[in-house]
């Protein structure tokens, strides 16, 4: 069979067309230290400059053989654009993503979303980075992502207050989620207009170990559905944490593919969703590619289990942790190609 470029491979995957091999890619942050070191950057510098963001993303994929390039990496872009300060941890020797240490708003009533949010804070850097990637690495698909409304609410207000308000001030939570839903639709559309080839809606704050499936059905699902309906395909819905009770509802939200993390039972999920649904996941981002004690053989064995469990593409269960062991990461990608390539994924194989 023809050898596809990564872009052809991922675009065909979303269309459920036959592939040359199983893809390895992600809908979430996928930057690795070998790329950052090769470019001579410090980790804290890649979040504040469009070219550094683009180059670190491009080289992460080129060096490790990933099938896509994803920007951005941290979860504070929108919150910063709404007037919050970020911590970059420039003096830390550790790899730390930017955070919002203090929130400017104390209550849900105060939240105002600027009309021109794409022009504020670092937001303009994302479309710029997408443009650079498309010019310099056109053979790759570019992935972008947005946090879902509930998780984003926790980036602009105290999360425990929001969680309690689900019961105590339900109307206000609903209003806040609606405001954020509109914002997320607009930003996602802007990123797609800038050239993102696929987009991921990430809503880790609503997993079934935090919120009840009832709350998910009543409060979260309608908004995720609204966002996904407003975005062009291809689009992925990812939820971290315990998603076994949620996968069927996730699948009803209208994404082209479902992505889950290590707490999800892939075998059961595949049974529940059937072969037609594109299911991505879900290897342990610490244990397999990063943990010093994990051998290449152990990483390979775990990825084989992952593939045998019924995924259509091997994907990290969350953001890839940047400080990977190169030999493990390369072996994970190679196993995906060889072991996954030899047996077409259910959704793809069924239609090929």
């Amino acid at each position: 069979m023809t050898q596809f470029t990564p872009k052809e491979r991922i675009m065909r995957l979303f269309k459920r067309e036959p592939l040359d091999t199983m893809p390895f890619f992600s809908g979430m942050g996928m930057v690795v230290m070998p790329a950052i070191k090769k470019l001579g950057y410090h980790f804290a510098q890649v979040h504040t400059d469009a070219n550094r963001l683009a180059q670190s993303a491009i080289w992460s994929s080129k060096l490790m053989g990933f099938d896509s390039i994803v920007v951005p990496y941290d979860m504070c872009w929108e919150s910063e654009a709404m007037g919050n300060k970020i911590s970059l941890y420039e003096d830390s020797e550790d790899i730390l993503y930017p955070t919002i240490p203090e929130k400017r708003w104390k209550s849900m009533d105060e939240v105002e979303i600027p009309e021109n949010i794409m022009e504020l804070g670092r937001m303009p850097l994302i479309p710029q980075a997408i443009k650079i990637i498309k010019e310099q690495a056109p053979e790759y698909p570019v992935g972008a992502w947005q946090l879902g409304p509930f998780t984003q609410a926790g980036q602009i207000l105290e999360l425990d207050m929001i969680l309690k308000a689900v019961f105590k001030q339900r109307d206000k939570v609903e209003q806040l989620l609606d405001k954020l839903t509109e914002m997320i639709i607009k930003i996602g559309q802007a990123l797609q207009a800038a050239g993102a080839d696929y987009i991921t809606l990430r809503e880790p704050g609503v997993a079934a170990d935090l919120l009840s499936p009832k709350t998910f059905r009543e409060m979260i699902k309608p908004r995720l559905t609204r966002i996904l309906a407003a975005w062009k395909s291809p689009k992925i819905l990812h939820i971290c944490g315990q998603t076994d009770p949620l996968v069927e509802m996730m699948n009803e939200c209208g994404a082209d593919a479902i992505s889950v993390d290590i707490k999800n039972n892939l075998v059961e999920t595949r049974k529940k969703l059937g072969n037609h649904v594109l299911l991505f996941g879900n290897f342990d981002v610490f244990a397999l590619p990063c943990k010093a004690e994990t051998t290449v053989q152990e990483a390979v064995a775990a990825i084989k289990v992952n593939i045998d469990s019924g995924v259509d593409a091997v994907m990290p269960g969350c953001d890839l942790w940047p400080d990977i062991k190169e030999e493990n990461m390369l072996a994970i990608v190679k196993t995906t190609r060889e072991y996954g390539g030899a047996r077409p994924s259910p959704a793809v194989g069924r239609l090929s």
Binding site: D94, G154, D160, F167, C240, A287
Partner: protein, 223 residues
Amino acid sequence: MANKEELLKALSDGVVNYNEDQVKEAAQAVVDNGYDPLEAIMDGLAHGMEIVGGLYERNEYFVPEVLMCADALYAGLGILRPHVPKKEGESKAQVVIGSVQGDVHDIGKNLVKMMFDVAGFTVHDLGRDVPLENFVKEQLRTDAEIVAMSAMMTTTMLGMRKVIQMIKEKNPNVAIMLGGAPVTKDVAKLFGADGYAESAGNAVEEAIKMIGRLREMRAAGQV
């Protein structure tokens, strides 16, 4: 006037139904009537939290409900704790707790903190986004028996390994608890920790189990 059993039940029910006003009222009545405040904490508030644990395990309650129950428990604790008589010469057990640098969410940490508060520990809460060396400094300053750290992301989780190494080098007898979404039992063991809670949800379970054990020990006259 309510008798002791009725007040204990009101405290327990108030925690379960996250009714802060009911808990405050019953706690004040315990104080006003001269009943044993420690008994009210353990057999009222902590007993209620044990029931909450059961509801959580059966997927009837989730983290928002548990947070509201914790608020009710703290409302009662604030009234009762000052009236618990201090035993002469007794030094209270101490714990240093915080979320490691890079993590600004601290729900799980606060639930574990509740466990120590109920048990009567002196809690040194460093808050969230805590520089790693601060855990070591605070442990040395206080000579706390326990250090509890939480991390929500894989990137920050690795910081806990450094803290454990630094603390154990100086004082191998300190018990270290880890918690947070990316932390597994294997990771906690690998890092050299003595205990763990996997997520905010597990922190709830662990906290409530410990409260249960404390109640049993107290009933058996061991504490």
